[in-house]
Amino acid sequence: MTTSVDTAGPAGAGTRRAGTSTLRFLAGKVGAAAVSLAFVVVLGFLLFRMIPGDPVATMTRDRPTSPEQLARLRERLGVDEPMVRQFLDYAGGLLRGDLGTSYIYNRPVSAMIGERLWPTILLVGTATLLAAALGLWLGVRAAWRRGSTFDRAQTGIALTLWSVPQFWLGLLLLTATQGLFPSRGMRSPDIPPDLLGQALDVAHHLVLPCVTLLAVTYAQYMLVMRSSLLEEMGAEYLTTARAKGLRDDLVRARHAVPNALLPTVTLVFLQFGMVVSGTVTVETVFSWPGLGLLTYEALRGPDLPLLQGLFVVLAGAVILMNLVAEVLYRVLDPRVRAS
């Protein structure tokens, strides 16, 4: 056996001690995550109050408004209350699971985030999955044939796409595809009546934003995979595998890649947390009704409760994914557990 990929825990007398240490490990990590989240809550509150702009002015711009109307609006939004009071209200609400009420839409922030969460997960999930698959595959190929034309060409293409601004690529794709795909949204104005039709409709709308996101993100998976595989390639256990008479393909697939996969798996999870917040541009170009677009809309107000809620949720996603990655890493790699 060349690698210890057996994920079942150590058996026998060591189990109890390993269980305690796992618990301690988990408690530590969860505690750290909770502290980070608390910082995020405070930071989010202060940060958005530094944005210049008056939501009342935005809401009443260009329409006849009497001074009484303005005064009532300021009172409803509570923008004139002392900062400390506003923060206590906000923090108290958070503890009760209440993210507040949007200034502009006058709806609960949690409901607004809830309805925008799934479109983002669909878009980011699909794109991340495909980007990881493509990146891993190309990365393995490129590393195995390091220095070949394939390696140089693919690395070049990936790096070029990585440096392209998302909105520009999105607009370019829109123009280039000449209406083969819808230019906006997740669904057509006329939703097909049947479930299959609806799924096809969403898939049709998903193509361009997904390809855009995929094109600009797959490079990092590819490069990490490539470099970690290159590291493994000098390892002696590969010589052993070859000495056993295995085909080159199998040496790569069974021995080298599983070991090189670990950093990439971590990266996928870290990226998934980041990508949720990083889709503002793609969602804006394609009017995809997700969290990124909601952030963009909220910034225009500025709709402070909505921004705060989004900030907590998006930062929370990163923190959670970090936590998952750390725990998963421990599960996947026995070396981490042993140390």
Partner: protein, 603 residues
């Protein structure tokens, strides 16, 4: 057991590819050829609410205009008041009581008759319920009592005479639907059960937040059913994407185009364009010494700008013609008063002897004479020794802001005034200008057919009670202006009122707390192969979308050659191609990895 992790990953990938494979195999049915005529309009601004009591954004009020009829509204021909629900109206001798005669035979879409009681309910609700006053409260501030003595008579008593009584931009809602609603701000008031009952040319049938608002033609509309069957407002977050969608035939109408977008669309086949006179003016604010309503100074404006001679010299050092030609690309009109030329009766054109004509030598002479001498570095200083060094605040997000500030800085430099450009976010421009923290700033406002509101913003009464958000536009406070404003506000004879409106603007122009720089054209485009006969307001030169009325889309007809077929969108086929492309990218690895494992490779 071995390598299970990698295998698992492979199967996950394969599973992910399955729905995509499925996508490629099925092709949705083609769109019906003889279906209803649907006009799809791109909407680039959000909708906050559909509830007309709380709907504040321009796009929301536009939707409301189609759904609920008004008492009176600006006509399509020249934007002067014409009858809506009211077929006639009159004011009492003392100008304090207005009687509106409600049209007979108009019905709500649920077949109930529209009566004066509905109108009375609408106004009374706004007057008594603060939440209902959020959007349209300004129209009832002067109302004392609104009653409906019978089904066809509406009586409005006002505190003071009010000339703008025929310009009440308030949608009249059905009492039997809205009287049961306790919390006017509740999200449920945006639901179809509530907003679906209307009396306008189109009725709201579906609302998917930030996606689409669908409206169908009201078959019982009192002016007659619209020629098109359905109106869809489709949300676009990105204007370039909307232009692209128009080209592809995904949508039929798009507005708020930039010069560049308009120029590219102009020559395209099957696309028609409309360069219309706009309702907005652009201005250069010159802080005349911002004060609050108690007369205390607020903000940090440069003291030299309190001197009207300095402001006038600046006005002469600026060439609006160049700004309209070079910065607006010719898509604008040359300035006069605050009311744009689209409202011809109320527009003020300064006579030659009062006009600020671009003349740098004259500007320099006047500043010299006023005691602002040039220092060794060429920058003038006032008698107090303080240099004429002004911040010029503008929107960084706007092409106009970026380019006009260059021109203005260049001109003022030649008049011995140093300009420090301050390009910031839209929100920051709003905040600094409304709190008086500016010297010079580029701004602008939209105007309405009735000039009362835009003139009221320049009165002393509009000054803020406290620092912060202000209704005042330029911190102007001038007794002569206020007197002229008051007289026009209470003058019911349209011709005499128009004269007073122009006089008030002349006073503003002379005191120049802000210099109007021009009026942007409104740029619109549509699919001429599918629709025609959009009504412009005012006739022949105005805009089609976002009118103060519903004429634009109400008048639209399907073009003669229109087949009703969707242009270039055999959706299913392209789903298959798109999915195929994704599959190729993602599936490649999976397919390769699935190669058969020979028996001799087992360890």
């Amino acid at each position: 057991m071995r390598f299970t992790r990698f295998r698992r990953l492979r199967s996950v990938l394969a599973l992910a590819a399955v729905p995509l494979l499925g996508t490629g195999l099925f092709v949705p049915q083609a769109h019906a050829q003889d279906g209803p005529t649907v006009l799809r309009v791109a909407l680039v601004q959000e909708i906050d609410h559909l509830n007309p009591f709380t709907a504040s954004f321009a796009s929301s009020t536009m939707v409301g205009r189609f759904a609920w009829e008004f008492l009176t509204l600006p006509s399509a021909e020249d934007a002067t008041p014409t009858g809506g629900l009211a077929e006639s109206w009159s004011a009492s001798e003392d100008k304090l009581t207005w009687t509106f005669r409600i049209r007979d035979g108009v019905r709500w879409s649920d077949r109930e008759p529209v009566t004066a009681h509905d109108a009375a309910f609408t106004f009374n609700r706004i007057m008594t319920d603060p939440k209902a006053a959020e959007a349209n409260g300004s129209y009832v501030t002067n109302f004392a009592r609104v009653t409906a003595p019978d089904d066809r008579t509406l009586v409005i008593e006002t505190e003071e005479p009010q000339a703008s009584m025929t310009a009440l931009d308030v949608p009249i809602v059905p009492e039997h639907v809205w009287s049961g609603i306790r919390d006017m701000a509740a999200p449920e008031t945006d639901s179809i059960e509530v907003v679906g009952v209307g009396s306008g040319p189109f009725l709201i049938t579906e609302y998917r937040r930030n996606e689409v608002v669908r409206m169908k033609a009201n078959p019982d509309y009192w002016r007659g059913r619209a020629e098109i069957d359905e109106l869809q407002f489709v949300k676009f977050e990105n204007a370039d994407a909307a232009v692209n969608a128009l080209r592809n035939g995904e949508i039929d109408f798009v507005n708020r185009l930039t010069q560049a977008q308009f120029d590219t669309l102009r020559g395209e086949p099957n696309i028609a364009t409309n360069q219309a006179s706009g309702r907005r003016y652009r201005e250069l604010l010159m802080n005349p010494g911002a004060r609050n309503s108690a007369g205390q100074p607020i903000g940090d404006g440069h003291p030299a700008l309190r001197d009207v001679r300095v402001r006038r010299a600046i006005a002469k050092a600026i060439d609006p013609e160049t700004l309209v030609e070079k910065v607006l690309g010719g898509y604008g009109e040359l300035p006069g008063g605050l009311v744009p030329p689209i409202y011809a009766d109320h527009h003020y054109t300064p006579p030659a002897d009062k006009k600020y004509t671009f003349d740098l030598a004259a500007a320099n002479r006047e500043l010299d004479a006023a005691g602002y001498r040039r220092g060794p570095d060429g920058v003038r200083a006032g008698p107090d020794g303080r240099k004429l060094r002004f911040r010029l605040t503008a929107r960084a997000s706007e092409d106009y802001g970026l380019r006009a500030t260059d021109y203005i800085a260049g001109w003022l430099d030649r008049a011995g005034i140093e300009v420090v450009k301050n390009l910031v976010s839209d929100n920051e421009v709003d905040e600094t200008t409304s709190s008086g923290h500016y010297d010079l700033a580029l701004s602008g406002w939209g105007t309405n057919p009735d000039p009362d509101y835009i003139l009221a913003k320049q009165t002393c009464a509009a000054l803020p009670a406290t620092s912060g958000s202000s209704s005042s536009n330029a911190f102007f406070c001038d007794r002569t202006y206020d007197r002229l404003y008051q007289r026009q506000a209470t003058e019911l004879d349209p011709r005499r009122r128009a004269e007073l409106v122009r006089q008030a603007q002349a006073r503003y122009y002379e005191q120049v707390p802000s210099l109007v720089l021009g009026y942007d054209n409104v740029l619109e485009a549509w699919r001429s192969d599918r629709f025609s006969d959009f009504t412009e307001q005012p006739e022949g030169r105005g805009q089609i979308m976002e009118q103060t009325g519903y004429w634009g889309f109400y008048g639209a007809r399907p073009a003669d050659a229109a087949t009703g077929a969707d242009v270039g969108l055999p959706a299913g086929a392209w789903v298959a191609i798109g999915a195929g492309a994704l599959l190729l990218l993602a599936g490649g690895g999976t397919v390769l990895a699935r190669r058969r494992t020979p028996a001799e490779d087992r360890e």
